[in-house]
């Protein structure tokens, strides 16, 4: 079976500074992996490099997605192939209608799969279902993308996008930060509902509390640009009680 994501000895950085210093990670279909780590460990960099952010450069190593090398593939093409990045700080795009934005993204992905584009009416139905799943007010879809949204609303909007796009790999960068317990439960419910045997989730988080709601199959501790420890879900709890110093020493 081909892994969904296979990262080999990846070294990458920003403005000539190496941040990821040799990362290897393999995610199989149906798996949920969590990457934990202190601030500045390279967690967000890893998510951006996989998504193809143009500011980051890969020095060596490779990233395979369904067996295909991603290095020269631009970010929009990666997204259409099924990589989704849920942002830590989603940007506001004033004046661009949320549901139109979603439909455009959705149809771009459908076209990639060789499917017909969905017209606005059919798409509205699909969107309404997904919004119900996430307990979102219908008014959300008529607002500008993230425009004037609270921190929690922005995160929920990210999960809505993931629900609509049904990616084969979802990378969620600190989706739990800034959420109160109720919002965390809703977001977790959304993530769990989207877990399927043929897709995978990579959770990036500072705290283990998200992992109480979304149970990972594997946990990795990232520090100083390297994965220092990997284990099953118990590792998260151990890190929480003993602190990152226990791993980073």
């Amino acid at each position: 079976m081909t892994a969904i994501l296979d990262i080999n000895e990846l070294k990458a950085g920003l403005n000539g500074v190496e941040i990821l210093k040799g990362i290897s990670l393999c995610i199989q279909p149906g798996e949920v992996h969590a990457i934990m780590g202190p601030n500045g460990s390279g967690k967000s960099t890893l998510s951006k490099v996989v998504a193809g952010h143009p500011d980051y450069t890969v020095a060596s190593g490779e990233i395979l997605f369904h067996g295909e090398i991603l290095t020269d593939i631009p970010p929009d093409a990666r997204a259409r192939k099924g990589i989704f990045l849920g942002f830590q700080y989603p940007v506001e795009i004033p004046g661009v209608n949320n549901s139109e934005f979603l439909r455009m993204a959705y149809n771009a992905r459908r076209k990639e799969k060789g499917l017909e584009e969905l017209d606005p009416f059919d798409f509205q139905e699909l969107l309404a279902d997904k919004m119900k799943l996430l307990d979102m007010d219908a008014r959300f879809k008529d607002r500008g993308v993230n425009e004037g949204f609270s921190g929690g609303e922005k995160k929920r909007n990210e999960i809505l996008q993931m629900a609509v796009l049904e990616p084969s790999l979802a990378i969620l960068d600190e989706t739990d930060s800034g959420l109160d317990v109720d919002a965390l439960k809703i977001v977790s419910k959304g993530i769990n509902a989207l877990r399927k045997p043929d897709n995978a989730v990579l959770l990036i988080t500072h705290y283990q509390r998200l992992l109480d709601y979304v149970q990972p199959d594997y946990v990795h501790v990232l520090a100083h640009g390297k994965i220092l420890k990997s284990g099953k879900k118990d590792l998260a709890r151990e890190v929480e009680t003993r602190g990152y110093d226990w791993v980073t020493g």
Partner: protein, 484 residues
């Protein structure tokens, strides 16, 4: 929205390349270059004009001689030689055109190429079109049907012959002959344009529109449009313009006058796409020096200007409203896009004279490449305009780092009870925004188009449907390759 690689390649080819830059080869009849009283007499005689109009022209010409070109606008260009311009050029044809079959087929094909079919079978069903080619109107569609409703829609030359009393009453009543340098020049030499008269209590049954095409290299276009909307009536009017690519600059100095009587409303929309010059060298392009003004003469009347300015080498244009009638409303919605070496100094004037008059200004400026884009707006509240209110919003968006945006708001408030509000902002499309789109599978070009259309949404919403779609496409094409 399409996002495939194919569409992209196609639009890349189409982008930047001005698709209306062709010339039409027809036999033209033109006056010699230059301007003096004889030229004006000659022009007036050729058009068989009544004495009052010749008088109007000569008075304007004499006034113009005493005036100097305005230099306060934030634009730069070498002096214009007004003796080096052809003031009258028209396609050669029989003296009286009985029907479309007598119009040079080459001209009909030109308009068809521009998306404005004029012949009976193909003409646009819900829009009446007056097509102006250089100095003359060549055809007007749906005239008969409109007349059944009492609506007069014809070229202004025809109106001078058929309805001289209306022309004498209203011509120059909103923009006086000596209003400004270019208006005076236009009043002296205007050749054609459109005339609209809506009788009392009539909602014009279809959109009216004029399409202006400059074809001859050395001719200026001096069109004159006059729209009178009687008590309780309503009309929506559209204006479109294109010109061939030439290395030289052509002068386009138009005057548009609108009058609304009690409870009447005029909605005037423009999509301006004159040739803007070579985007790399800055050579050529139209000088678009235009005076547009509406007079809300009656109580509860309304004039609304919507403009999408995407062309011309230089734009100098301030569609204005004089709110004379009590409770009258003036609106100005504008998108001005500059790229290449374009320069735009555009905005509006809202003159509040009557009580409880209201005005709203929404201006969106987009500049890219090496262009400059200035908003210049005046809000004047007269001393008797008790209860007057104005709201202005001026937003600029910069694409790239070599362009410039300026805002020059002028406020003159002569009544203490008036309320005037002004908001302004300047923004840039950020890399973070573009990456956000890309991470959702949307290509960069589409992302830029979506962001810009979002920025302009308030203005596009004011346009009739087909025009709004057209305007969005135009914007996208113009800015292709400007971002990243």
């Amino acid at each position: 929205m399409e996002t495939s690689a194919n569409t992209l390649a196609d639009s890349k080819l189409a982008g930047r390349e001005y698709q209306y830059g062709f010339t039409t080869d027809v036999e033209m009849e033109a006056l010699k270059k230059g301007l003096n009283e004889d030229v004006i007499r000659n022009l007036s005689a050729k058009k068989n004009e009544p004495a009052f109009l010749l008088e109007f022209r000569l008075k304007a010409y004499r006034k113009w001689l005493t005036m100097t070109e305005p230099l306060w606008a934030h634009v730069n260009y070498p002096p214009i030689d007004y003796q080096d311009i052809v003031y009258f050029a028209k396609p050669k044809q029989k003296p009286q055109i009985a029907g479309l079959d007598e119009v040079d087929p080459e001209i009909l094909r030109t308009f068809e190429k521009l998306g404005i079919p004029l012949d009976e079978q193909k003409k646009l069903a819900n829009v009446a079109v007056d097509a102006v080619f250089d100095s003359v109107s060549v055809a007007t569609t749906h005239k008969k049907k409109l007349l059944e409703h009492g609506v007069i829609f014809c070229s202004i030359s025809e109106a001078v012959q058929e309805y001289p009393e209306l022309i004498e009453q209203y011509l120059g009543s909103v923009v006086p002959i000596g209003d400004n340098f270019y208006a005076a020049l236009n009043s002296a030499v205007f050749t054609d344009g459109s005339f609209v008269f809506i009788p009392p209590n009539t909602r014009c049954p279809m959109e009216l529109s004029t399409y202006f095409r400059i074809n001859t290299e050395e001719s200026g276009q001096f069109e004159r449009t006059l729209i009178v909307c009687s008590e309780g009536s309503h009309v929506s009017y559209l204006e479109g313009c294109t010109a061939p690519k030439f290395d030289t600059n052509q002068l386009h100095a138009a005057v548009v006058e609108l009058v609304t009587l009690d409870n009447a409303e005029i909605k005037y929309s423009t999509v301006q796409n004159w040739y803007s010059g070579d985007p790399v060298t800055g050579k050529g392009g139209i000088y678009n020096f235009v005076t547009k003004r509406g007079l809300c003469k009656g109580r509860n009347s309304k004039i609304s200007w919507t403009q999408v300015e995407t062309g011309s080498a230089i734009t100098w244009k301030y569609p204005s409203c004089v709110l004379a009638g009590d409770n009258s409303i003036g609106e100005f919605y504008s998108v001005a896009l500059t790229n290449g070496y374009m320069q735009a100094d555009t905005g509006t004037k809202m003159i509040h004279l009557g009580k409880n008059t209201r005005s709203r200004i929404v201006s969106k400026g987009i500049s890219s490449d090496k262009s400059t884009n200035a908003y210049r707006g005046l809000v004047r509240i007269g001393k008797n305009a008790t209860g007057a209110r104005n709201f202005s919003q001026c937003d600029s968006m910069l694409v790239g780092s070599e362009c410039a945006a300026h805002t020059f708001p002028y406020l003159e408030v002569g009544n203490e009870e008036a309320v005037v509000e002004h908001e302004a902002s300047t923004s840039k499309i950020s890399e973070d925004q573009l990456f956000y789109f890309e991470s959702r599978g949307i290509v960069r070009e589409d992302a830029v188009a979506m962001i810009l259309n979002g920025f302009c949404k308030e203005v596009f919403q004011q346009l009739p449907m087909e025009f709004a779609v057209e305007a969005q496409k135009l914007l996208t094409l113009k800015l292709e390759n400007s971002v990243g």
